[in-house]
């Protein structure tokens, strides 16, 4: 598997580290929210774990060190999109 880093071009998988689902969002902390525990449990532990399209975070650890959002098919490993997380406005 190779990942096309938007900064460095197509590079070997060995240079990248995987950080899981990129669509998760940390819940807003609000002391009045009775469901806060449930929301954080969902955020920390629950995953869609799809067989198919998956948006996921990778870091080009042994390259430019940028965080990337990769759209990959978990059956075929086909990558349809690789974007710099910063460009997507992601706080990684």
């Amino acid at each position: 598997m190779r990942i096309k880093c938007p900064h460095c071009g197509e590079r070997s998988l060995d240079e990248f580290s995987y950080y899981g689902d990129a669509t998760l969002r940390r819940p807003e902390v609000n002391d009045q929210d009775a469901n806060l525990l449930a929301k954080f449990t969902d955020y920390v532990y629950l995953r869609d774990n799809p067989a198919g399209q998956h948006q996921e975070l990778w870091q080009h650890q042994f390259g430019c060190r940028a965080w990337l959002v990769v759209t990959r098919d978990t059956n075929s490993h086909l990558m349809t999109e690789v974007t710099a997380a910063a460009q997507k406005g992601e706080a990684a």
């Binding site: 449930a38 449990t41 920390v44 532990y45 629950l46 995953r47 774990n49 067989a51 978990t74 075929s76």
Partner: protein
Amino acid sequence: MKYSWKTLLQQGLNGHKGWPAQWRSPEPQPQYDVIIIGAGGHGLGTAYYLARKYGVTRVAVLERGWLGGGNTGRNTTIIRSNYLFEESGKLYNHAVNLWDTLAQELNYNVMYSPRGVMMLTHTIHDKQVAQRHLHANRLGGIDSEWLTPDQVKEFCPPINLRPDLRYPVLGATLQRRGGTARHDAVAWGYARAADALGVDIIQNCEVTAILRGQGGAVTGVETSRGPIKAKKIGVVAAGHTSHVMAMAGVRMPLESFPLQALVSEPVKPIFPCVVMSNTIHAYISQSDKGELVIGAGTDQYGSYSQTGGLHINQHTLEAICELFPQFRRMKMMRNWGGIVDVTVDRSPIIGKTPVANLFVNCGWGTGGFKATPGSADVFAATIAKGELHPIAAPFSLDRFRTGRLIDEGAAAAVAH
């Protein structure tokens, strides 16, 4: 037909033409008391114990492919119970106790061979942690002992003890009751025994929806072979659990990864035990066919392709070739992967779900085979009684909310 030397003799005299099929291939009935989704070892075992021990005989096991075709037929068949925490120890030891007499109970040779599982240590820190682990096991009633390097060599003569290895062998823990079993025979044995008790095993039957009634409780499933009603449903779908549970609107704390194994060409008996090393990542044993059975790791990223990354195998083979240099010239015959469902604490999930009458047994990750009989028994008890079996109770889905995780991240050599 009871298998015995008498039937073997009779069949032999008949030219082996009279052996009956080991299980039926029935059409699904319109309704069952319990439907088990997934005909791997855990699912078939659950059906067997439901019928045999807990008096629930109107049971169907639905399987999308063929029985025992998933991780049951893809693992490296290692059995042991030397997990660190008391909860895990009880669960895996329950399984080891059942392994002891499983062949007799099922009247099926599952080839359980308690040949000993040795876990190597390579650094001082390794050694200290292993000994602490060993004593925790002994306090928990799990057999475990320490072997010095000389004793390691005596127990496993092929091992390389040279001190100039990058990671020399400084000793090992040994669980003598650990060993291996024939994985296919476990699925087939449970299938045959469950079928004889009236359980319907329905292969090539994919569940496409989980049906719910008023109040949300499950009422049955929609399948590729039509709708089937059920009072209770048990999901035992390993790497595909997330999708099956999504049919009932339940999100799971699981991620699926491919886990690989490979076997060598068959050779004469050379390897007497199971050797694992967590530090340099190696699993090796020899099957009764003579193949060296080698376990590799999981891919770093989620995937449903049953072929993992090749570099994962290379990493394992580097360790094997260092520990057993004489295997360097052996040919590897086959390499494959299975999709394992991994929880964040590397412990399984057994029990109830937020949906009434829907039960789940999953999250066995990289180490489910060893637990097959124990997992099946406590899951069957949980389904039959509608309350958690005491051994299963700590492994409920609820632990992710309460924070009572059972962190067995260091229990396996598989790098998580």
